[in-house]
């Protein structure tokens, strides 16, 4: 306890009283993310700039406590949970656009800027930011970078790593280091993106902006089942039609979002395929015809194209609100994140259905179908121990099934705490040891986000995570 008091005292001395939280009531807000795990940190700090982050790292080293960087806490696998206590560094105050270069199409932002804020701020200049995770109204660009987040549009423009041009980060010694993709030498930018806060603390990002397309079409096709919708997606991908996003929602999800958003999705459909096309007006028209034809050939029951921007936004708002809307159906839900090769999607959704039926719990599916990235949502009541156990087991089975199909266990949320023991299902011990070499080059004393990514055994002593999860409101 006296150690924690000393830590609080030193942090206050360096950052001021206003930036340091140490009471249990205050710390509760920094104890969890969208995974069910929680643990109170010893302190939570709200730095204003990289120099303050540097001071925090030096204090943490002196006091021998770990540091966990926190964006908005929307991650699904415990990446932001301070499972060993220590300091949570919140980026809530580092949320500015530092500079915007419209002709050069780039922006420099602080890591705590909310994803959607960047596109809002650049819209008037005809630019937008590519990666658009469903959490983009709340998740931060620093957090997006940490998990190499994608979202629906990753299908056409790639995940975060394709959009980060430069990074300022604080390393394990407390030094502020800048890296750019134009630097000679190792690509530290691509190395840091997706490293889940285990290599350094990113304070500033240089991001690529995209020019708004001249035409956009958002449309959906209704299918009798998620398998036929998936087969249609495989055909669209194979045909090389330049869609910007290909998303599937099954009946459970469609009904939940319609009750909430009234976007006009058909309630009777077994699954809905949401398609976005963007580019030159004539190309978009031609692609729309081609996709509609493929949909019909794959047994689509209906095809509807949004008439205007308002309808387009409504279709997207409902899709991106899918997880939240499930609150109407079950008290808790567990979202899985796995990827399979695109053509294996029909088999993967069939496997999910079989597994869900086996565990006796209802399941909904939202799928970044163009990328083969599945998000099955299993509904349960965490107060019922049997359901809690069943959901964890089903989650594990889904991951195993996806690996069996040539896929992997995370498409855009990372490994974090919850999936770390699953890592050996995908990689050999030599593969994992190679990752550890990289880790040790950056953070040999394990200051940053310990007990994440790497399976238990590398570090021991913690209790098995229950895994049953609940998303934030």
């Amino acid at each position: 306890m006296s150690d924690a008091r000393e830590l609080g005292r030193r942090l206050r001395e360096a950052l001021g009283t206003d930036s340091v939280k140490t009471t249990p009531e205050d710390l509760a807000a920094y104890s969890f993310d969208a995974c069910g795990e929680d643990r109170l940190p010893d302190a939570a700090v709200l730095p204003n700039d990289a120099r303050e982050v540097s001071a925090i790292v030096r204090i943490a080293r002196d006091c021998g406590v770990p540091i966990v960087a926190r964006g908005a806490g929307t991650g699904l696998c415990g990446g932001a949970v301070p499972v060993s206590g220590g300091i949570v560094v919140s980026f809530a105050r580092m949320n500015r656009i530092v500079s915007l270069d419209v002709p050069g199409r780039r922006a420099r932002v602080q890591a705590g800027l909310v994803n959607l804020e960047l596109s809002r701020a650049t819209a008037a200049s005809g630019l937008f930011f590519g990666p658009d995770p469903s959490s983009q109204k709340s998740s931060t660009l620093g957090g997006n970078a940490a998990t190499n987040a994608g979202g629906p549009r990753a299908y056409s423009c790639g995940s975060m790593s394709a959009h980060v041009l430069g990074i300022e980060f604080v390393d394990a010694t407390g030094d502020i280091v800048c890296a750019s993709i134009d630097d000679p030498g190792y690509d530290l930018v691509a190395t840091l993106v997706g490293s889940e806060g285990t290599l350094g603390i990113v304070t500033t990002l240089d991001l690529r902006l995209l020019r708004m397309p001249r035409a956009v079409c958002v449309a959906f096709a209704a299918f009798d089942a998620i398998e036929t919708a998936s087969a249609c997606v495989s055909a669209i991908v194979a045909a090389g039609i330049g869609a910007t996003a290909l998303e599937i929602m099954d009946r459970t999800i469609v009904r939940a979002v319609e009750a909430h958003y009234h976007a006009g999705y058909p309630l009777e459909a077994g699954a809905v395929l949401l398609v976005e096309l963007a580019g030159e007006p004539a190309d978009v028209e031609a692609s729309e015809r081609a996709v509609a034809t493929l949909a019909r050939e794959h047994g689509a029951l209906a095809w509807r194209s949004a008439a205007d921007a308002r309808e387009r936004d409504a279709l997207w708002a409902a899709r991106k609100g899918a997880a939240g809307a499930l609150g109407r159906i079950a008290p808790n839900y567990y979202i899985q994140d796995a990827t399979v090769p695109r053509t294996r999607l029909p088999q993967a959704v069939r496997a999910v259905e079989t597994i869900a039926r086996g565990c006796g719990l209802p399941v909904g599916n939202v799928v970044h179908a163009g990328d083969g990235n599945l998000h099955p949502l299993i509904m349960f009541d965490r107060r019922v121990p049997r359901e809690r156990e069943a959901v964890v087991a089903a989650g594990h089975e889904i991951l195993a099934a996806c690996i069996e199909l040539g896929g992997t266990i995370s498409g855009e949320h990372g490994i974090g705490y919850e999936k770390r023991d699953t890592l050996p299902l995908v990689y050999s011990s030599d593969d994992i040891a190679t990752m550890q070499r990289l880790h040790d080059a950056f953070d040999p004393s394990r200051v940053f986000n310990p007990e994440k990514i790497f399976p238990r055994g590398a570090i021991c002593g913690e209790v098995l995570a229950p895994g049953a999860t609940e998303a934030p409101p």
Partner: protein, 419 residues
């Protein structure tokens, strides 16, 4: 594994003591394990086309040629993925993909010799990356051999993957100093329906307007560069301000519309005539890319400088200015979309070239600190600064090297900051 003459693997003024040609991944592993154990330094070879990049290794005992590891392992056109062994040539990759209506814009020189592994290891970046992405953005998985012989994989065959560290992206651009790449899994793209290459000579005083007008095109080109010089290797002929190349790729309709827009845009910039290439675009574009490293006999050095398009012209001007001051000539390629500047510095007079070139290289360190050498006469390389100023993150890079290759087995001293 076969032994071969070591002469063709000479770098700088040094030939290695041993040259091994690997037939299998196990060969690569055995050679590295043995070399690492007894302190021999190893340089990896693919097609050898980009060995002119960077500094000469400070130690060099073994050449390890991976070009025979050249199979296509898995090609899944419907998934838009392909897996190849590192020694697969770019030409073979391109042909295989094209047969299935796919492509990958890696755009490295000498595609019939250049290998996928070498292209990735060198971090090669082509002019179409503004439209399609960087080479590393296409790498979804790798298998590599570490200096101690360990075989390790990262990533997989899926296009979206955050399962552990994305080590593949660290290996891209590591120039054979961290690992030996033996397999690459790549994301591919649907082949565009139509392509067109426009070439126009720039009359005196039209360059600046051409640059600004092309930046404002409504339909963005896949590539746009201004070339000055390279008259024997790249198509077209210079006006007083050089010549411009604009490549469009997409649907026939859009390429047609883009061409109309380009013609009127160039016309407004004072460029009267635009020649259009519909056929043989591939070879013409390949000649442009080849020029990025092509030497002029043994009396040229080629530099490459990265940066924003907005400051490409000042960097290009600096190359010309310093060249003039050293009584050398500069031929240049300015990439309007990516901001790359290529400058081939040469002399008509062979006898004086070495001294002038060394003087040029010393002078450019202030005006063009970030420029790197991509091609230079082997006899001069040890006297030149291959990398320019080291980056601010050099200490972190050295720490990475120390963990992956603690004995300095892989091309020691070749990389930036003598890594």
């Amino acid at each position: 594994m076969t032994q071969t003459s070591s002469k063709k693997y000479a770098l700088g003024t040094r030939a290695p003591d041993f040259a091994h040609v690997a037939e299998t991944i196990a060969d690569v592993s055995a050679t590295l394990r043995e070399s690492d154990a007894i302190g021999r330094a190893v340089v990896l070879f693919g097609g050898g086309t980009l060995q002119g990049m960077g500094s000469v290794p400070v130690r060099y005992d073994v050449a390890l040629d991976c070009s025979r590891l050249n199979r296509i392992l898995e090609h899944e056109p419907a998934d838009l993925t392909i897996a190849v062994e590192a020694g697969c040539t770019l030409a073979n990759l391109e042909q295989t993909l094209a047969a299935a209506g796919r492509f990958l814009p890696l755009d490295a020189p000498r595609a019939s010799l250049a290998t996928v592994g070498g292209t990735l290891a060198s971090g090669w970046l082509g002019p179409r990356r503004a439209a399609y992405g960087r080479s590393r953005d296409f790498v979804i998985g790798t298998t590599c051999v570490l200096a101690d012989g360990t075989i390790a994989s990262a990533g997989g065959m899926v296009v979206k993957n955050v399962t552990g560290y994305d080590l593949s992206k660290l290996y891209v651009g590591s120039l054979g100093t961290l690992v030996a790449l033996v397999r690459a899994n790549l994301r591919t793209l649907p082949l565009p329906q139509a392509r067109r290459l426009a070439i126009a000579s720039l009359p005196e005083g039209t360059r600046a307007r051409t640059v600004s007008h092309l930046a404002a095109l409504a339909i963005e080109p896949a590539a746009a560069v201004i070339v000055k010089g390279f008259s024997k290797s790249i198509d077209g002929s210079d006006g007083l301000d050089g010549r411009v190349f604009v490549l469009f790729e997409g649907t026939q309709r859009t390429v047609d519309a883009a061409t109309r827009e380009l013609r009127s845009t160039l016309g407004a910039a004072g460029v009267p005539e635009t020649r259009l290439l519909e056929r043989d675009i591939g070879p013409a574009f390949a000649r442009l890319i080849d020029a990025y490293i092509e030497p002029l006999g043994s009396r040229s050095i080629t530099y490459r400088s990265y940066g924003a398009p907005a400051n490409a012209t000042p960097r290009l001007d600096a190359f010309e200015r310093v060249a003039r001051a050293s009584d050398l000539e500069a031929e240049t390629i300015e990439d309007l979309r990516t901001g790359d500047v290529i400058a081939r510095i040469s002399s008509r007079l062979t006898p004086d070239f070495a001294e002038r070139a060394v003087a040029f290289d010393a002078q450019r360190r202030t005006a063009l600190a970030g420029a790197r050498i991509v091609s230079a006469p082997e006899r001069l390389r040890a006297r030149l600064d291959g990398w320019g100023a080291p980056p601010a993150s050099l200490a972190t890079m050295k720490a990475v090297k120390a963990r992956f290759d603690p004995h300095g087995t892989l091309a020691p001293g070749r990389f930036v900051g003598r890594i």
